[in-house]
């Protein structure tokens, strides 16, 4: 398993946050039909936390057999023809001897033109066995509809931008040599 410098991950995060900030509210899932963790802590007045959920410091007799440090799979970038590559939000993944589970993510924003060719790349370059892409139309009210599988198969990872509107693009990559799998999410603002 390759462990890469944390600085690159932080850099990517900064880029993502910056792009999200530049393109509008990024807190919470914009899709009540497929909500993720709440950005706005929308607990109703009838909802009360029942316990402090900070880590308990009570002692344990467990013996640590390994440090759970699931190193991260490669980043994925999405580039329109001639445009800057935008790093997707890393969601659930399996990598090495571990993995992580996420909810539906809002996606890293990227502006593209309708029917524009889009190319997905991996950084660092990593072998791909198969990949799949799914688009979900995001309505102006923030709701989404059922995802539509649009591409599936071996590389190259290229697709064509959908029609005008806001879409969530989820790309699932299964890496070569059974190295694992990962999902990446972008929010396409299609002109």
């Amino acid at each position: 398993m390759t462990s890469r410098p944390m600085v690159r991950r932080v850099s990517n995060l900064v880029v993502i946050i910056g792009l999200i900030a530049a393109c509008g509210p990024a807190t919470g899932s914009p899709d009540p039909a497929t909500p993720s963790a709440s950005a706005t802590t929308p607990a109703t007045t009838a909802t009360t936390a029942t316990a402090s959920l900070g880590p308990s410091s009570s002692p344990s007799t467990s013996t640590v057999v390994a440090t759970p440090d699931p190193s991260l799979p490669p980043d994925a970038t999405l580039a329109a023809d001639g445009g800057d590559a935008v790093t997707g939000q890393l969601g659930s993944f399996i990598w090495g001897d571990g993995g992580s589970d996420s909810g539906t993510l809002p996606g890293a924003p990227v502006a593209v033109g309708a029917s524009e060719p889009l190319t997905i790349g991996l950084v660092p370059l990593t072998g791909v066995a198969t990949w799949a892409a799914a688009l979900t139309r995001i309505d102006p009210d923030g709701t989404g509809v059922a995802p539509i599988g649009i591409e599936e198969g071996p590389p190259p990872m290229t697709l064509t931008a959908p029609g005008a509107g806001t879409w969530r693009l989820v790309v699932t990559v299964r890496f070569a040599d059974h190295a694992g799998s990962a999902t990446y999410t972008w929010r396409l603002d299609v002109r």
Binding site: S38, S62, G98
Partner: protein
Amino acid sequence: MNRSHPHPVVPARAISALLSAVALLVTIAPAAAAHGPDPTLNGVWFAQNQALRFDWRVGAVPPAVIRTAITSAAADATNSRSSQAATIAWAAGGPNPIGYGSGAPCGVNGLACFTRSAPTGFTMWFREQGHRFDWGTMQWCQAYSSPPNGCYDAETIALDEFGHVEGLDHHVNASGDGDYQDAVVQTFSRTKPQAGWNAHRFGVCDIAALQRAYDLQSTSQKVSSCLDLSTALAIEVSATVVGVGMNVDITATLAVVGVAADARLRGDRLSGRAITLQRRVTGTTAWTSIATMTAGALGTYTSSVKPASSSDYRAVFTTPATEGLVGSSSAPISVRVAKCAAAPCPQTVPIDVPEGRS
């Protein structure tokens, strides 16, 4: 389990979106609706029924409500594995640590994460309540007396993680995610109140992968309806030539054929299924069902008949609606009834059979 995957009701806006996507993506081949057993990780498994015991990580012990959820999820995994997958339970001093808190090394967006080193053990982490992602705040449903929409059920998330520990990769849903509830080990965890947000049993496609990897617990256990295993019926009779009125015991044996991916299941005997005995008069083509065979041990089914005339017999296993088996028929086997020329007729060698032949 929806084996036929009928199209769900799709709202008009979905149809509009679909048409838009299709129209603008005409150069892209439509995606195949992949659906089947969960993919698996690296093919390294725990031993059958291996006891995996966990305890809380020192300095990162979950709060009581999360501990309860995780412990319940371990019981869910054990009770719903429908296979000889490892059993999972909390035990003081258990060698596999589960932690909770800001130290969770789950990637930028992870709710929970794991490592596994089969057949040795595993580790697991859960984000703390209130953790600030760049896209929102972590909310565990267990933290609320009235869980709000948008919260994650810790028991479901833990069951998903235990599925990974057993060796399962994320389920590949059919296009449109209409089969989401066929698996708990999902790429996208769902929040209240979405369908599947509080699943407390493995789904049929989780179980399918577990059965492939770890085998059935018994010959009578139901095969996951997410599988589609071929079967074979063998048949034998106690005598192929009998006198009129003599008993013939017929025994059928049902077993899994399967494909390479089903290697662990292949050859498994299947008990407790419905096997029909059929008969046709020798020289004719029409089969008639004459009995439901009596289920015995190790995938055997028996019937006793007293043929009045020479007949062919076969056993038939009809494809069941509730499990992942494909029906089959045995090859026909003939029983010749030898006519007795004069009483008393011998009971073992009919008199019209030449000596030296039977």
